[in-house]
Amino acid sequence: MSAALTLLRRDVILAWREGGAIGVALGFYLVVVAITPFGLGPDLNLLARIAPGMLWVALLLAALLSADRIFHNDYEDGTLDVLTTGPLPLPVLAGVKCLAHWIATGVPLALLAPVLGLLLNLPLDAMPLLVLSMLVGTPAVSFVAGIGASLTLGLRRSGLLLALLVLPLYVPVLIFGVSTVSAAVVGPGSPWPPFLMLCALSLASIVLAPIAAAAALRTAQR
């Protein structure tokens, strides 16, 4: 347990210190959402209607920007080899690293989302639900990204391939994330059924993704 916490703390500190990771993701999110009204024109009703979808799609892309760092840096400088000889089983190791990605990227993105919602004329009373749905949805984003990151280990310029592999897997998260927020904005129906599905998706990927990532890591180390 303490080894897992040590690793988690180190990964979050590294994400913060190595710069780029968090700043670039937040900046990308801001820019993508900010240029949308320029492309669509100043129709406030239209913007409010597409805001949930725009915010979620941009969040997925922003989170993927830093996804290849989950394992790549540790693989490249030999740290992964030494971590493997440590007390944590490989799936736990992979899970902790995905969790660190969520803390360093998913949470800041989710907290930035309501500010960006203002740019898209998202009604104020939908903001709490927006943040909540993103906070429970982004673990699925980080953990599934971990599978992609481990599969593309050792490849040059793996970022694009990673996005290609992982984005289709985000479809369920996107659908339920958007319908949670949309239900609150335009109705009809309650936002809670899709919200609970979102929770289920996150829980399932927290359990299953580390196992898949560990298998891919083992192959990469050979």
Binding site: E18, D77, G78, T79, D81, V82, P87
Partner: protein
């Protein structure tokens, strides 16, 4: 500083396959506590592969590894310190933070950060980011990991690369102290060390051992 160890390392008829090619097969050795194995042979013959197999990073193509004397449920890889070609140092962390991480992560609470910092004389550099270190200093940082947590088996792959003569001597002494404490070491190196190796293994092409 180091707790006395009582773990032996036994390899029974292990084989290694890389990319469909058999590097070696039917390789056996037994190291009692306090004994060291020197692995030699030309480049590409499988020295690194052998060490990675011992560390559990590469699968055994055949045979088995045992560590009599260790707790039953302890995997062999968790008894090992593996220092390979890469230094596993994080450039964004200071020397102290790097070693503190390994002390806590590998040490199970009985790690020794002060001992690790002083082992290769890195105290003066402790607050410097590892990214600013020279190649030799990074190597020392990687080797200091051996002292961050007590582990009975040291697997050293070309440990002396880019070290100066004083540091090679220090490394030599460190291996000897480790063996005197009952530890086991498997070292692959091309430079002469004064450590007495109880066993010597010369790998050769054609699967001979």
């Amino acid at each position: 500083m180091q707790s006395p160890f009582s773990v032996s390392l036994k390899a029974r008829a292990i084989a290694c396959e890389r990319g469909g090619r058999t590097l070696f097969e039917d390789l056996s050795f037994a190291l009692a506590p306090g004994e060291a194995l020197l692995v030699r042979g030309p480049n590409g013959v499988g020295k690194t592969s052998l060490l990675r197999q011992l560390a559990g990073l590469l699968p055994l193509a055949a045979g088995g590894l045992e560590a009599p004397g260790a707790a039953e449920d302890m995997p062999v890889s968790e008894l090992c310190h593996y220092v390979g070609h890469l230094n596993a140092a994080k450039n964004a962390l200071t020397v102290r933070e790097n070693l503190a991480f390994w002390t806590e992560f590998l040490g199970h609470g009985d790690g020794d950060l002060a001992g690790a910092l002083s082992a290769f004389g890195l105290e003066d550099l402790a607050s410097l980011p590892a990214g600013l270190l020279s190649a030799g200093q990074k190597r020392k940082l990687a080797l200091s990991r051996l002292f961050a947590a007590p582990r009975p088996v040291w697997l050293l792959d070309e440990p002396s690369v880019s070290l100066d003569t004083a540091a090679v001597k220090r490394l030599d002494d460190a291996i000897r102290e480790h063996l005197e404490a009952g530890g086991v070491a498997v070292v692959s190196t091309h430079v002469p060390l004064r450590t007495k190796f109880a066993h010597e293994l010369t790998l050769d092409f054609g699967g001979e051992a």
